[in-house]
Symmetry: C2
Subunit: 323 residues, 2 copies
């Protein structure tokens, strides 16, 4: 913990990882993705630069990514087998730590804001389905029809996934439906997320997703699972993950990175490398994480073909990248 307001600030964001088909990634589409990432990155950074909290920074960045139909969260989320959107999100404040999480959300425009309401205005950490939406209504959140989330592009992806892959077929050892769908449709089955460190030494993490194209109704991935897809602790770091969620849950990826830093005293970079490149890779899991530690070190690492990502800090670093 730094003296009040004296520390460095840093933020990293991701817009999903996976199979990114370069044939479909025209210069125009790549520029548009980079613009979306830049907007979220700079919105979060500007909050940190003017002394705002890491919690506000990750909320703002993820909300913008949720509203951008290019990314798989909120508006433009990938669709379930029944052509509807089912959304999951989690947020964690490294101070406390405190956490909020929602899963199976169908009518809340910005799931990350509902996760934050759960953290701040309920005694609970996780609310799911209709009960979570009832809580949203009680807190004055205006619900939207599920069709709000559905875009033409995601419907096309769903139809091509249904034609090319059977969601219920056994994907065999070392492969999961997410990877198959990603390959079949030529699109990532991503997530969005942000991690940040503020001037007061507080870290925070936020993750939001529509899950996998053509997913079974009720399937929950790692994003809303505290410790798997989202984790923050002021003693070490904040982590947001994206990738084949089932592998990330079984490996408790985000908390494992924290534990390697805290108990084995690895650097954040070494801890992320061990979990993503070595352990997850050995199991066959694909994806990546963004992470920031309490000194402001940013790590963005993935074992997939690409990860939409961006990083910016008070030392002058600013980058947006895909491959």
């Amino acid at each position: 913990m730094h003296a009040e307001g004296a520390g460095p600030v840093a933020i990293a964001i991701h817009g999903g990882a996976g199979v990114i088909d370069r044939a479909h990634m025209t210069p125009a589409r790549e520029a548009s993705c980079r613009a979306g990432l830049s907007a979220a990155l700079d919105a979060g950074f500007s909050i940190l630069a003017r002394g705002g909290s890491s919690l506000d920074a990750v909320t703002a960045a993820v909300r913008l990514l949720e509203d951008d139909p290019q990314f798989n969260a909120g508006f433009g989320a990938v669709l379930s087998h029944d052509s509807s959107a089912e959304l999951d999100a989690a947020i964690m404040d490294g101070s406390g730590p405190r956490a909020g999480s929602v899963a199976g959300i169908r009518h809340v425009k910005n799931p990350i804001e509902l996760a934050r309401l759960v953290m701040e205005q309920s005694p609970h950490v996780m609310l799911i389905g209709d009960g979570a939406e009832e809580f949203a209504l009680e807190r004055g959140v205006v619900l939207v029809p599920n069709s709000y989330f559905v875009t033409e592009r995601r419907l096309r992806e769903l139809h091509s996934a249904i034609a090319g892959a059977d969601v219920e077929s056994d994907p065999g050892p070392g492969m999961d439906v997410g990877v198959i769908v990603g390959q079949a449709s030529g699109h990532d089955s991503g997530t969005v997320g942000a991690v940040a460190l503020d001037r007061n030494g507080n870290v925070a993490a936020a993750t939001s997703t529509g899950g996998m194209t053509n997913k079974r109704r009720g399937r929950v991935g790692d994003s809303p699972i505290i410790g798997a897809g989202t984790y923050a602790n002021n003693e070490t770091c904040a982590v947001s993950a994206t990738g084949s969620g089932e592998y990330f849950i079984r490996s408790v990826v985000a908390h494992d990175i924290h534990a390697l830093v805290q108990y084995k005293h690895l650097s954040l970079e070494a801890a992320v490398h061990e979990v993503i490149q070595l352990k997850l890779g050995r199991l066959g899991g694909e994806g990546g994480v963004i992470a920031v530690d309490c000194a402001g070190n940013i790590v963005m690492d993935f074992n997939s073909q690409g990860m939409f990502r961006g990083a910016r800090d008070s030392r002058g670093r600013r980058e947006v990248a895909i491959y």
Copy 2:
């Protein structure tokens, strides 16, 4: 990993932790609780003793505890604010590792069996709500009406909780609704669980719960969260937790115990002590865990007034205890 079939075997079970009102715990009721624990313990142990897997042992033990109305899982689960039962469960096989989890279940008699089906017959780890029950139907599981789970005793507890505590009131720092409800109703707001080591050196963990009396619809505690309430890894240990779930999620309790054993090389006993007595206690969380490591050491520890529990191993240990 021991040579095929050569290793020791061990099992531990719990039937919840929390405020156990000795005034309500008559000798007859205590004997009945002990008999229920003994039946589950011995059923699991007999599977291990005849060379069965730890996965089968924890499934059998938890299924019996789910069917016993004295414990808060399956038949006789505590009731939500709307007088219905909403059930969560998770199972993890330390070999792989593999995991399955369900939450918000309303019509499956034995949620632990559905969690195991998710692990063994779907590419997913976690399914929730209607989607999970659709999967159950597809796998030939016969659904039961929600009224199957509801007992007179749990209805009385719910009414007394509603009269004594407002589920939506802010419980203040260091307290959660689970604790307040536990205090108000004089009953534990528990969980059931089992951990086991089989002859082949494989560990497994299983946890099942009805959550908290008078809980908000859609609230999910730590039981079905891999890493929080349930975790198993053949490199270290298997853990099943019970207590104030929100604290256990934020602290990623089960994976933290694993990490202390793996990265700090603590004994299982020291790791459990650090997480339950020191870290969880500092945050205000109440409850306990049962754990078994790959050498057959059993640890049962709690910082609450009591924890219904039992342990048995191939060295001749057999105990059932409450306080």
